[in-house]
Symmetry: C2
DNA sequence: AATTATTCATCGAATAATACGAAGGATTAT
DNA sequence: ATAATCCTTCGTATTATTCGATGAATAATT
């Protein structure tokens, strides 16, 4: 794939003709025509067809143009990102927002790779409702937002989602509460006291739908926006609660609770939301790389 | 942005050194070294740092590598797509699946551009539950799936979502039913008979949450997987029903119903799901292009 | 129907980018 | 210490690209 040829093709397609493009690029028409010809023979299919005295993209040309558009957009984005890159040795600030529905321990695991850069980093962590964080992100007062759901379409913000990972959920109960449950999982949930996440979270929707599908009707004794608070109530036996399976052993030891069961039919997803299509901030790059390499898979879980 | 330089940088980063890369690319080390040096001066930041007698990516280098990876992936994907492109003149088959929750008229508007290619096209339309369609897609028996929601994470299919557009929803009622409603919108919905979409659709979740937030409690007299059937019931006054605002005038004339009101707080989204990250099938390209150019915005609506 | 102004395609000559060999500095292994 | 790797710098040779001139096709104008 010769990217120089592709670049000329892209310019000509944008300009709508060899002549117009040649002015913009400061090259002669015959150069462009020749280079595009080379690209066409290399790809084995014509990209332009004559329409009157103008050129028009063929269907294959339209496919190629779509790719070219994306490729050169990425190229100039790369240039922008690195042109004024922070000098090495200077302190880098990384401002990250965490939606309050995301478990703290998950947030830590996701963000932690950002602290392991070669350059010194100062992390500024902000926790809030997702829509407030997105506003801050749009105003460039945040570099990244960690959330449990992609950007809602209602929030008219031009930002990009990057799926970092997911996890099934486990059901937990304090030892005393567990003794009161007679039946096996998941039947034991029917009529059991239960703590659920706030109703504007994705996982609460999935949980309620799952319970409904299984005809299980627990008594909902509490609804929490903050999962840490929910676990604290659960620790003292207020009710059964759920948490990501990847944190199962951690939750058990930290809160002294036991696992009732687990399912992959309910799941939590985690997203990094940023203004650029691709990461430019070194900390964001580190987070993405780490997530891609199986943040959760490496641990013995799921 | 010199893509040749970037390509060498990419090769060297992958191979983990100039020497190893030089063997794979059949070039001498000093060539690679020099070309990368040019890239670095052009970008104004070093991409590699010496680590012992080896090279290591700098933070900026990692950013660049991420971009390069994506760029060259796209490049080879483009080559694959066009290398054995269907000969022009031959009949092209386009197999598209439509999730049954998507309104027919929306599906038509989304798919219609695919029929306007220069080459003759035969469209094979399949309508079914989303998960069945995704299975067909994964088996390459479908080229594209049109759905009202992105791929659920539960469906472990490697596919790509492309958001085609969205619309707010309008509330409709037959003239007779409307006369029985005394209050203004949206208060009139309280206690009114209502027809709702099936409970596994995204819009039904948003509708119920919206009603709940406004403390409106309609009598749900019917639940429909197929929106066309829902509208048929609504036509005869069985209950209030919703539809995308972009179809408002069409629904009014076709079913002889009247608009109670509309909101953007409830919305429907439409997605094209395909196996490739970018479209290669000419029909898919046409659909994407048309959607990007504002499929809904051009019509007088929203 | 002939004219004019576009447009793209083709051909050798000029130019700029790229690749290589030789030599040198730096780091690790023997 | 000495050899083996590895990356870099320099000057030159090769290659690919670009250009001007020319020809052929198309569509609007006279």
């Amino acid at each position: 794939m010769n990217f120089k040829h592709l670049g000329y093709f892209w310019q000509v397609a944008k300009a709508g003709g060899v002549a117009r493009a040649s002015e913009q690029v400061h090259l002669t028409p015959q150069t462009l025509s020749g280079q595009i010809g080379l690209l066409e023979t290399q790809l084995g299919t014509p990209l332009f067809a004559k329409k009157g005295r103008n050129l028009e993209l063929t269907d294959a040309g339209r496919v190629a143009f779509g790719y070219a558009q994306e490729i050169f957009d990425l190229g100039s984005e790369l240039e922008d990102s690195l042109r004024n890159y922070p000098m090495r040795g200077r302190l880098i600030e990384f401002r990250v927002g965490v939606a309050d529905a995301v478990p703290k321990s998950i947030a830590y695991r996701l963000i932690e790779p950002a602290t392991r850069l070669t350059v010194p980093v100062r992390i500024v962590c902000r926790e809030w409702k997702l829509d407030s964080l997105l506003t801050e992100l749009a105003a460039h007062r945040l570099d990244l937002v960690i959330a449990g759901a992609p950007i809602p379409a209602a929030a008219r913000v031009r930002a990009y989602n990057h799926r970092l990972g997911d996890s099934g959920v486990s059901f937990f109960a304090s030892p005393e509460l567990r003794k009161t449950l007679k039946r096996a999982f998941p039947a034991c949930l029917d009529g059991a006291p239960m703590l659920v996440p706030g109703d504007d979270t994705a996982v609460s929707t999935r949980l309620l739908r799952w319970l409904d599908a299984k005809s299980l009707r627990p008594r909902v004794v509490g609804e929490f926006d903050d999962t840490a608070l929910m676990k604290a109530f659960g620790q003292h036996g207020s009710g059964v609660f759920i948490g990501p399976t990847v944190l199962e052993s951690e939750i058990k030891t930290q809160y002294g609770v036991e696992t009732l069961g687990r399912t992959r039919e309910i799941y939590e997803e985690f997203f990094a939301i940023s203004m650029e299509r691709r990461a430019t901030h070194p900390c964001v790059v580190a987070i993405h790389e780490s997530a891609r390499d199986g943040l959760f898979r490496t641990k013995k879980s799921v």
